[in-house]
């Protein structure tokens, strides 16, 4: 689809030929993740995480459909039905622990995938649409993850739902009406649980749909690469299959080993003890914290402690939290540096690592109780977060002097020895 030297699909037998003339599905696969998709030859292991995200989604959908066969979305018996899965359903404990830890692993690989895109400038022209669709997937994942955490109907489920829908109540005038509309009541209850279950089942398939668009948009310009230099000719690329399918197979193995270690030997490490207590509207847990993957955003929410003019602190916090994600949609136009890869951007590189540390600090503060010194630290860290994207990146994209870059991907891989590079073809 993208490069003129891409291998063409040729049906190997009469049936495939017949099929190709009527529904060219094998051709589509061949062109998108097969030998017909030329990919830069110099991708490093950080390029494994896109495929790993897809693998995580498949694990979530499969285990989720199975759990839904045994789970009861009714506030009276939801908690007991989860225990029924854990104790009585054959392999039920395995499905539930895979699903609960799989969600965390989905977010881990997606966060690495996002930070890879940030460092190597994958969001820049001509791949802006890939980046935007990726952010849509991220938002859908957050909604799905939040609603999924409500389903076991433990204390954190209930109070998480209360706090997160309470964010909408911060909107002036119509806020409370919106919260009641979201919950279908005055507090989280059966109505809320049922609609969250319905949407939690639906959204993963929406995510799968947006992933198809994400990959479609990627295949027009082709994959980015660690040097950020455009592909110049056949010598720069290598067919996706068998080269990157083999590499992704290895990556998937490592991913599954790590997932298995958590599922089988520390299945509750990433969870919260309070969620093994059934939801009780009359008793609040001492620290309400969301799942770990929301902690950085939760820290930004809580960093706003002072009312400014007519804006109460809570509304400011909610605005800032949404802004912290929405601003990523404008990133391709905020960072105008023509150099994509952070490798050749000496200043950008420093700020990038500060950002990584900053998000880690925000995450730590978001999981900590809302006391000093965590509030002050999260205020400092939130300041940097906004400054990084809205002030520092636009400024350094004007002032920075990029390092000298190689002329081509092949040169980056082989040094100046052009002759050694032969166009690679699928056998």
């Amino acid at each position: 689809m993208s490069f003129p030297w891409a291998a063409q699909y040729t049906p190997t037998n009469p049936f495939m030929k017949w099929m190709d003339d009527r529904l060219p599905l094998p051709r589509l696969v061949f062109n998108s993740v097969g030998a017909g998709y030329p990919v830069p030859r110099n991708l490093n292991y950080f390029w494994n995480f896109g495929v790993l995200s897809g693998l995580a989604l498949v694990i979530q959908i499969v285990t989720g459909i199975i759990l839904a066969m045994h789970y009861a979305a009714n506030s009276e018996i939801a908690f007991a039905s989860v225990e029924h899965i854990m104790r009585d359903v054959n392999s039920g404990w395995l499905m539930r622990y895979l699903h609960a830890n799989g969600a965390s692993f989905f977010f881990i690989v997606v966060y690495i995938h996002i930070f890879r895109g940030l460092y190597y400038g994958s969001y820049k022209a001509p791949r802006e649409m890939v980046w935007l669709l990726g952010l849509v997937i991220f938002l859908l994942m957050m909604a799905t993850g939040f609603m999924g955490y409500v389903l076991p109907w433990g204390q954190m489920s209930f109070w998480g739902a209360q706090v997160i829908t309470g964010l909408f109540a911060a909107i002036p005038v119509v806020g409370e009406t919106i919260q009641q509309w979201l919950l279908g009541g005055f507090a989280p209850d059966n109505a809320a649980l049922n609609r969250f279950f319905s949407l939690h089942y639906l959204l993963p398939f929406v995510i799968a749909g947006v992933i198809i668009l994400h990959i479609w948009a990627l295949h027009l310009p082709g994959s980015s690469n660690p040097t950020g230099i455009d592909v110049k000719g056949p010598q720069d690329t290598i067919p996706f299959h068998p080269y990157y399918t083999a590499k992704d197979g290895f990556g998937a193995g490592v991913f599954l080993i790590l997932l298995a270690i958590m599922v089988f030997f520390a299945p509750n490490y990433l969870g919260h003890a309070d969620n093994y207590i059934e939801a009780n509207p009359l008793s609040t847990p001492a620290h309400i914290v969301p799942e770990w993957y929301f902690w950085p955003f939760y820290a930004i929410l809580r960093a706003f402690t002072v009312d400014i003019l007519f804006m109460p602190a809570k509304l400011l916090g909610v605005l800032a939290m949404f802004a912290s994600i929405l601003l990523l949609f404008f990133l391709p136009w905020l960072d105008k540096s023509p150099v994509r890869s952070g490798k050749f951007r000496p200043q950008f590189k420093i700020w990038f690592w500060v950002l990584i540390a900053d998000v880690a600090v925000l995450g730590y503060c978001g999981g900590a109780p809302a006391e000093e010194p965590y509030v002050m630290i999260s205020q400092l860290a939130s300041m940097y977060y906004f400054a990084h994207f809205l002030i520092i990146l636009p400024l350094i994209s004007r002032t920075e002097r990029p390092l000298p870059m190689p002329n081509s991907i092949t040169e980056a891989v082989l040094g100046k020895d052009h002759d050694a590079a032969q166009p690679a073809t699928a056998e």
Binding site: R41, N42, L43, E83, M86, R87, L94, Y97, I238, P242, Y243, A246, K247, G249, F250, A252, G253, V254, L256, I257, A260, F264, F265, P267, N268, A273, D274, Y276, I277, A286, A303, F304, T305, V306, I308, A313, L316, A320, A323, L327, F330, W333, L334, P373, V375, M376, Q379, L380, S382, M383, F386, A387, F389, L390, I391, P394, V413, L414, A420, A424
Partner: protein, 276 residues
């Protein structure tokens, strides 16, 4: 244009945050040193190890049976075990006949309906029943216990920070309040001091005393031993499939490591002629 608006929005957020930070920092500096809090007298759970710890840990069936005895003779008077069924006790090494007898002799009966009249009545428990609730409902539980509802114990070792170590420490950790304990943290009437409990004082009187049960296997019934045994039992009630999980885990890991090694070799094989 995007960058100018972004710049202003960024400055706005940074400004508000900076202002909040200054206000917070001033308040933090000028605030008086707060008096002692309950947290200053709170202890972290004691270190304790169980046979079931670690990837290779398995339950000690003898200990689980002793723990069940402590639950039955001490805890079951107030605390339910609603997610566990009598039939599950075969996991502890009881025979089916023994389980039937335990269910049949359980002091609390199971609600049912009279076949002839349709009136509510009760019957003896059978193996397929879950452990019956001690109180008909939470209100009855509160009324019988000075307004403190005894929680269900099925998931207790997973439902508290520090898990099993916390349960053990709490059971074995009752002590007299320290001499310097401020008035506000002194146990009121009907409350008992326990430094492992986050609020320092709890409504449950010390449940265990030396020699309270007599173990059939000759283990000495000290408070420490009983607390440890019943905690081991509660680890099992919270996670009855733990042994299945660890056994399957080892097999899965061995397979995955083998498969991933092969995948790595295949990857290197495919790429052997390609510089990258």
């Amino acid at each position: 244009m995007v960058r100018i608006i972004g710049f202003l929005v960024g400055l706005g957020f940074v400004g508000v945050l900076g202002y909040s930070l200054i206000i917070g920092a001033i308040a933090y500096m000028t605030e008086e040193e707060p008096g002692p809090t309950a947290y200053d007298y709170h202890h972290h759970a004691r270190e304790i190890s169980f046979a079931s710890d670690g990837p290779l840990g398995r339950f000690d069936r003898q200990q689980l049976q002793r723990g069940f005895q402590v639950y039955r003779e001490v805890c079951a008077a107030c605390h339910s075990l609603e997610y566990v069924a009598f039939r599950n006790l075969t996991d502890l090494g009881f025979t089916e006949a023994e389980v039937d007898a335990i269910a049949d002799q359980w002091p609390i009966q199971v609600p049912t309906v009279n076949e002839d009249t349709g009136e509510d009545t009760t019957r003896n428990a059978i193996a397929s029943d879950h452990f019956p609730h001690v109180y008909a409902n939470e209100v009855a539980g509160r009324a019988a216990n000075n307004n403190a509802y005894p929680p269900d114990l099925s998931l207790m070792t997973k439902a508290r920070e520090e898990g099993a170590a916390y349960v053990y420490s709490l059971l074995a950790g009752y002590e007299d309040p320290p001499a310097d304990l401020p008035e506000e943290f002194q146990p009121g009437t009907g409350l008992y001091f326990n430094p492992y409990f986050a609020n320092l004082n709890l409504a449950m009187p010390p449940p265990l005393s030396d020699g309270q049960v007599s173990y059939a296997d000759g283990t000495e019934a000290t408070v420490e031993n009983m607390a440890e045994d019943v905690t081991a039992f509660l680890i099992w009630t919270a996670e009855p499939k733990m042994e299945d999980r660890k056994n399957l885990g080892l097999i899965v890991l061995i397979f995955l490591i083998f498969a991933t090694t092969l995948a790595f070799l295949a990857y290197k094989n495919v790429w052997r002629d390609q510089k990258h």
